[in-house]
């Protein structure tokens, strides 16, 4: 069962990456999808990241009750946790729910209403036309959202720390700037790129092979989110193991 699905997924990807019939039409679709994946998700990512940053700061401060440890370490831990794990992974899991379910249901509805058949009869490579713009939007916009998420998580930490009195702004800023390694951003970007690909391609796969009606479209959408989340966590582990 697993290998059957994996095989179908890989065959679908092969069709997705075939040369487009007309780049001008694809370009328009890519821009539309980038807006949908990126701009439409900005608010959600901003709220989640800011609160996670603030809560993380307070929790780290709560756990590090010792005169031997400088308060600036709170900023340092928050920085590395946000960059390496929280921002890429939490953002990806949230986007799997928001973007993934939308991709599955959109493509699934097109399948059950014969719109995909109509594309194929016209001689259009349906996987390429429908899925490639979504994947390209995913692998470009998710890293941008993750960068934004990191910035807002760190800002949230600053605000949360100051408001709760857990850490002064000066200590916090000193913590997030001391010993910063650019490599952690590289790891975060690799994760974001892979997660962007996983969210869009796995959800599109679930929608593309729907059979039945609206009930099955809903089930495919749920399955798309679940499989995307599991794939995100598995690839998160693999990337962390390989790069750190």
């Amino acid at each position: 069962m697993f290998f059957n699905s994996l095989g179908k997924y890989l065959i679908l990807l092969k069709s997705v990456f075939k040369k487009p019939e007309k780049w001008a039409i694809y370009r328009k679709e890519i821009l539309h999808e980038m807006y949908s994946v990126g701009v439409d998700s900005l608010g959600l990512i901003a709220i989640i990241s800011t609160f996670i940053g603030a809560v993380m700061t307070m929790q780290i401060a709560f756990q590090l009750v010792s005169d031997l440890i400088p308060n600036s370490i709170i900023g340092q831990i928050n920085r590395d946790s946000s960059i390496l794990e929280l921002s890429p992974t939490i953002s990806a899991l949230v986007l799997a729910g928001k973007v993934g379910s939308s991709v599955s249901s959109q493509i699934g509805t097109m399948r059950v209403t014969e719109q995909i058949d109509a594309l194929e009869i016209m001689g259009i490579n349906a996987p390429g036309y429908l899925i490639l713009p979504k994947i390209l939007a995913g692998i470009t916009m998710v890293p941008i959202l993750v960068v934004l998420s990191i910035a807002l998580a760190l800002t949230g930490g600053l605000i949360g720390g100051a408001l709760s009195g857990a850490v002064t702004p000066a200590d916090y800023i000193s913590g997030i700037t001391d010993g910063f390694r650019g490599y952690t951003i590289t790891v975060a970007m690799v994760k974001a790129f892979v997660f962007g690909f996983v969210i869009t391609s796995v959800s599109a796969y679930q929608g593309f092979y729907v059979k039945g009606g609206s009930l099955e479209v809903g089930q495919a959408s749920t399955k798309g989110v679940v499989v995307s989340c599991i794939s995100i966590l598995a690839s998160d582990y693999a990337i962390t193991a390989a790069m750190l």
Binding site: K22, A118, M122, G123
Partner: protein, 250 residues
Amino acid sequence: MIEVQDIYKSFGDNEVLKGISAKFEPGRISLIIGGSGSGKSTLLKCMVGLHAPTKGRVLYQGQDFTRMNFDERIPIRKEIGMLFQNSALFDSMTVEENITFPLQMFSDMSKKERIERANSCLERVNLPKSNKLYPAELSGGMKKRVGIARAIAMNPKYLFCDEPNSGLDPKTSIVIDELIQDITEEFNTTTIVVTHDMNSVMGIGQYILFLYQGEKKWEGSNKEIAHTDVKELNDFVFASPFMRIAKKSF
């Protein structure tokens, strides 16, 4: 001309088509009729390449469509227009965008030329000035007509219609049938219609292929259908009391 030769199609253990052979001539409306589950939509999908037949061939002007890969099929697919049962219009596009989409993808027409072509197609199906409407804003009959307009946008040589009258009132059904007939004569298309609407059978069935449980049981014209002694066909065509009364006048 389209020719199907000894087509078999199975889904798992369920054999849906059992050795269907037929010829569909240009400039003529060919109907594929039969009860629910008789395999008529499956045959249509095998002909347009949405299903791969288990055995047999589909020939377009002598070229074996079934053995072609996706890229080899593109030139033939550009000559195919299809009207789907539920119209299958692209929800995210306006009527005009639906019609100009294949032109945009495959022709070198300028935007102005594409819009002119869309307007002429919409006038042809009696839906002028509906360019900016979305499919959700159209009635069932209007969707069918936009579906036909999209199907003829590329001047197809082959026109396929899957249950064009389903869900329509009798008057609109006749309008759609007349439209299909006019387009077939005007563009000399090879038109294949899957239907179980008896008004269509009697009205536009120049060639009729009757399927019963996946097998070809009968072929002929609408003039011959009333005088056949094939029991399954008689049971199908003259199932309603009205048709039984009408039969006496044939």
